[in-house]
Point group: C2
Amino acid sequence: MSRYWSRIVHSLTPYVPGEQPKISKLIKLNTNENPYGPSPKVLEAIRAEVTDSLRLYPDPNSDQLRQAIADNFEIEREQVFVGNGSDEVLAHIFQALFKHDQPLLFPDITYSFYPVYCGLYEIAYREIALRDDFSIHIDDYFQSNGGIIFPNPNAPTGRLLVLSEIERLLQKNTDSVVVVDEAYVDFGGDSAVGLINHYPNLLVTQTVSKSRSLAGLRVGYAMGQSELIEALVRVKDSFNSYPLDRLAIAGASAAFADVDYFKQTCHRVISSREALITDLEGLGFNIIPSAANFIFAAPSNISAQQLADALREHGIIIRYFNKPRIDNFLRITIGTDDENRSLVQALKSIL
Amino acid sequence: MSRYWSRIVHSLTPYVPGEQPKISKLIKLNTNENPYGPSPKVLEAIRAEVTDSLRLYPDPNSDQLRQAIADNFEIEREQVFVGNGSDEVLAHIFQALFKHDQPLLFPDITYSFYPVYCGLYEIAYREIALRDDFSIHIDDYFQSNGGIIFPNPNAPTGRLLVLSEIERLLQKNTDSVVVVDEAYVDFGGDSAVGLINHYPNLLVTQTVSKSRSLAGLRVGYAMGQSELIEALVRVKDSFNSYPLDRLAIAGASAAFADVDYFKQTCHRVISSREALITDLEGLGFNIIPSAANFIFAAPSNISAQQLADALREHGIIIRYFNKPRIDNFLRITIGTDDENRSLVQALKSIL
């Protein structure tokens, strides 16, 4: 508390990201990073930019990257907005498109940054309870609102909503913006990006942090009709002209060019996930069906928090949320097969 | 205009950055970049980070970089805040520290992003006219306010305010935050950072974009007592947990380690500036005394806009602001001696 602070600062409850340990021998299954590094072509493209040209500002519009994304999804460059990680993109979305008289709607169990943004921009919101199986039911969102957002697959549950349900929502909900946050969609879902030309109020966000193995580079993006993109550009150009540095533009652009590597990596993660689910079910875990690069798993005969602590003793970190309805679950990122085996061994020794 | 936009979006007047031309044969003296590349040690440090570790999130607190900055200025790490370019740092400052009942004060001729931030966060402000010689007079700021900000040296004038005047302001103005924006201070001014331990309401911002030749990397920082830094951290952690990517953290940290290179580069730019001033005064320009890596110069016998257009025909771009009081001036970034010679030749041929 300080008399120098703006009023809003006193009321903020900031987001707490998963731990980034400074010792490297831990098996790190806590922040949904990809167990495989980025494409060698990405590293090459970044290296080619590590020159004296770093003295120059980057392209404020990141046209090269926006074009690479547009080409990948067969949309127009003007339908793409890029930012410094999808967290920044989401922040701009909340400020630019979600501040209305009616409350924003999102699930009660979801990405815990959403209510934080609402605090920062003083946006009214209403949490819509997931059903008991942690599924989103679209009918629950058929009510007056100033916007709707949910991840698909949802986080931290991993549970997928099929595209036809999203389209049913868009057909009924035409007066406010619907954001589908697809951070994890490449691990088992279908993107809603194919719907943007049909629904002027649809915005789809993605990131290179997960399926493209570039969490360390900070690049996220939103796709939608130019009317929505323009709102984001106006906010971005009133906040920071150059959100993406030269290396991020080069690396992320190259990531979209190497489609084969991307597909192979996603496939490996999906295979490992299915194997891990089988192993954990054998150990008595209740696991929510996952279309993500993580699973949401409830142990039997031990509390989730106890188990998280015990795993840490074994050098393995996973994510535990001390929140109603999910405090008996652990969110476990899919690692390499070796890492997953170590996890299963540790669980066997603990349980 | 769109019914989907939040109210604030309709009223924004975004900042327009200087042109980043996509053809490289232009002599680019328009956005105050350093004519010399970053230290070779910076490039080396970045290259060492271009590995599979890019799959992992960066340190959300950028501790390595904050420590490097703290060591450089002989302050504590907790007195340093870092962001994705000083534009992002300034945006957080406006939201976290400048939104009060009384208006924010800044010069009428200054960094044109300041009123844009005020628009984004709905902050009342009052512009204080520079004196006729474009100098800031501290006495003009002795009035009720919700904060004070100015660049030192000022932009786009390049004119410096001496440190004793800043201290006189701080002695009198104790109820609101004073931000000294030192983007250009290394080219001829004394930093106010030595005052932060004496004045709890002082915040000093700097950037690696200018004197450390890293505009392409997007790293800025603020230094002040931990009470002010905490406000910025709270806003940052409600906006984007990981504003700096792994490469930016590595490169900027290395830039602070290579003090010799930094000093040499600054010295070269200052020498070139003094030589260019002599040449331009010989051509009849009226030049505001500059402590920056640019000069603010009014031509005689030709309008500034005409001259800007004519220089572009010669393949040289400089910055012209079509604004009251300064529309007969050009802001010219100091280039290499070769570039400056080309500029002088072109001017001779035009005038």
